[in-house]
């Protein structure tokens, strides 16, 4: 069996776990991205402990911990709180995993756990928490490695269309924003090359558990997220003060708004089609 087919046959969470581990190791070794191993230990520890406890307590069995692992590392990489604060990692980890058990619709969770936790922390705790902005040396080589592995893995887990749709829409909308605002085009496209976007594109928007069920639907959702983000960014460009809490992390907040709505609609449509199919079968019998 060739390794690509092995990759394709794996639970998508494992190659994704590999990719985020690669980013963690590369980023920490080269740039010290974590800002302290206590942050990683706290985030990972709380995420896995919460997953273990809640799955056992609520479902009667221990869940696969890959999701908790990915979430823990995502939080450790993306949350940049004030120095000395560990509670954002602890509470963020708990909230992320607990959101899977609490915020459900028709038995499925709606938010990507780290997306929910980071959005909440950014919006509810702006005096304590910032999101990753400039990190990893603004370095082309690091970017290239992460993008290469990211695209390969997104392709193998069947989510490349989501990544490409989002990136394509982002670029087009950035060009439009640049025209509207009159700023340099490169500045509006530039965020794509940053680490926050790498994590967003490869770990959040492509999360198989919280994406909708069809390829077309996923592409529409990715485009909608890009559109919502563009709206937030336009508001930022025009200094609309009332929306300023959204400006530090536009893609993450946009996904937190659009993602669960899309998932809920998708689940509802799924149920309607199942009922219709059952009805048709009953009628024919």
């Amino acid at each position: 069996m060739s390794s690509p087919s092995l990759l394709a046959s794996l639970d998508p969470r494992y190659p994704v776990s590999f990719l985020i581990t690669l980013i963690l190791v590369l980023g920490e070794a080269r740039y010290g991205v974590l800002g302290g191993y206590d942050r990683l230990v706290t985030a990972l520890g709380v995420c896995t402990a919460t997953e273990l406890a809640l799955s056992r307590w609520q479902r009667g069995h221990v869940a696969n911990l890959a999701s908790a692992y990915i979430t823990g590392i995502s939080l450790a990489l993306l949350i940049k709180p004030r120095a000395g604060l560990l509670w954002p990692f602890a509470l963020g980890g708990f909230i992320a995993i607990a959101s899977k058990y609490v915020l459900q619709y028709r038995g499925r969770h709606l938010w990507n756990p780290s997306n929910f936790a980071i959005s909440l922390l950014v919006l509810a705790a702006p005096a304590s928490v910032a999101v990753l902005s400039h990190q990893w040396g603004n370095d082309l080589a690091t970017n290239a490695v992460i993008w290469s592995f990211g695209l390969l893995i997104a392709s193998r887990v069947g989510m490349l269309h989501v990544t490409l749709t989002y990136v394509g829409c982002f670029v087009v909308l950035a060009a439009l924003r640049s025209l509207v605002v009159g700023g340099p085009l490169l500045a509006d496209i530039a965020p794509l090359t940053g680490p926050m976007y790498q994590l967003f594109i490869f770990f959040m928007i492509t999360d198989p558990k919280t994406t909708v069920s069809t390829v077309r639907g996923r592409m529409i959702v990715a485009a909608a997220v890009a559109a919502a983000e563009a709206a937030i960014r336009l508001a930022g460009d025009f200094h609309i003060a009332s929306l300023s809490p959204l400006y530090p992390a536009p893609p993450i907040v946009a996904l937190a708004i659009i993602g669960p709505l899309a998932k809920a609609i998708d689940l509802r449509r799924e149920r309607v089609s199942v009922i219709s199919a059952d009805g048709a079968r009953a009628a024919s019998s």
């Binding site: 740039y31 010290g32 809640l54 307590w57 609520q58 009667g60 940049k80 709180p81 004030r82 120095a83 000395g84 604060l85 509670w87 954002p88 509470l91 963020g92 708990f94 909230i95 607990a98 058990y101 609490v102 909440l120 950014v122 509810a124 705790a125 702006p126 005096a127 304590s128 928490v129 910032a130 990753l132 902005s133 400039h134 990190q135 990893w136 040396g137 603004n138 370095d139 082309l140 970017n143 700023g183 340099p184 490169l186 500045a187 509006d188 530039a190 965020p191 090359t193 940053g194 680490p195 926050m196 976007y197 930022g236 460009d237 200094h239 003060a241 300023s244 809490p245 400006y247 530090p248």
Partner: protein, 613 residues
Amino acid sequence: MKIISAVHPDKCVTCVADAAGDMVHAVISPPRSWRRGAVALSFLAAIALVVALDRRVDRAGGDAAVPGFHFTDLAAQVGISFVHHGPTLDPKLDNIAPLVGALGASVTVTDVNRDGWPDLYLTNSRFGFPNALYVNRGDGTFVNVASAAGVADVNRPGEGVSMGAVWGDYDNDGLEDLLIYKWGYLQLFKNLGDLHFKDVTEAAGLRRWMNSNSAVWIDYDRDGLLDLYVTGYFRSDIDLWHLKTTRIMENSFEFATNGGENRLFHNVGGGRFEDVTDRMGVGSTRWTLAVAAADFNGDGWPDLFLANDYGPEELYLNDHGRRFVLSRAGLESDSKSGMSATVGDVLNRGRLDAFVTNISERGYLFQGNNLRLNFLPELGRFQQGAQGVIVDAGWAWGAQLGDLDNDGRNELFIVNGYVSGDRSRSYWYAMSKIAGANGNVFEDARTWPAIGTASLSGYERSRVLVNRGLAGWSDVAAAAGVTDEYDGRAVALADLFNRGVLDVVVANQNQPALVYKNTVRPGNHWIAFQLVGTRSNRCAIGAEVTVAAGGTRQLRVVDGGSGFASQNDRRLHFGLGQSARVDSAVIRWPSGTVQTLARPAADQLHVITEPAR
């Protein structure tokens, strides 16, 4: 007997059966809906806790307690009406001109006319706008004599504009000379006495174009002649008024190395300097904004501590004056935006620690200031000691450590704020767009979004942090009368009125300078030292004094430039608290001579001349 669990959608049923497997009875655990409710409740509680903890962080730091000192801005009353004007640069930089040109306000203290009263030098940074030399009349007022002294008209097209200055007696004639560092040509002025200066830059071999934001006098080889370390910010091939390219910005927000090269100039005597940068291994190109010189590892040789923008701090340890070695001292991976480097014995351990300011902005960035506690002798590294209010002061610039209430512990005075423009428009969002980008993108100034009239961390208040020892720091700025929201850059401490208390002078960007006269609650004692070198450099830069009193020991060093674009009073001031008796004062001169003063009298200034041996 065995236990069997059975699955049910809403209940957890535990069945107890006998050995044959026949069920004896069943235990029904709390229903799943109850469990879901408990999880939901804890989920909501966690969210509520996030909000509560964030509010606590937001409110933390303000100390309602009345501090033992109070500041009053008396700039106008004492005759200091200086207003800084920032540089106007090449129109190619117009989109971000307020950002790039947001530097240049500086203040330094010296006794320029040797009358025993500290004088002030303030820089301007626009062509045609003069620098000011405020001479202390000794009657509580100052007079600007810069023009007559020949140190005013230094901001001229083709020559560059001032970014700061440092005073040092490079020729050991007993008169403080002046080095002005610029975005442009360095200028060295020899003090001729009688408040007259002569530009000796060319003869000294220092006519170099450097886009510099700091410099320090240091006798690195302990030959008794002051050498000069000048840092580079923008590359030295860049003329900011005649740009050949707009690719002049940093190529990384974290690990940029495309800044101007720092330069070490060795004083060879006869009023001449030679560039020994390469030989001594100190040519960092890390966008250095501040430099402090002191003997951090206690080997008797002064080291260099650099606060670098867009990168980690650097410690260059002096190897017996033969060369400097970039040390792995726990600084190398902690990349931030170092703005200011000030040195002091923060916890009265007899060690020189370093405080470095950085950037914090709600929601966007929490770099945090660094308090580098010196554990070099034991651990070979600094330990981060910044906690609580000391960590996040805003977009922090200059800072100084000094005992503001004479209680025997160093306070911290930090000035903040970058660009105060339109209060309703913030540039933070626009900057966040490019901050995460690839370095090639934002290295070009043209790719930066236009700032227009927006603010960037504007209108930030200064911090006055009282040192509670191991209990941490308290911000008493408001209670101490420091409420201005100017864009502070440089801060210098001096006993301006010879009263035995440290006053504070602040240079603000594009705004008036402030002179905060300090009123200290009576009861605490003090002692001060003015050192005169003989075998060491005349102004004793690099000399350390350790005062033992009231069961504690305090260490101070004579600085040749400290903080950001500033230099403190050359006289070393120690608060003594309630103790009116000093057990001893030990002076370690740069020459290596150690001099012990037994029971020097408190509440007075001691002028000490270096002994022959």
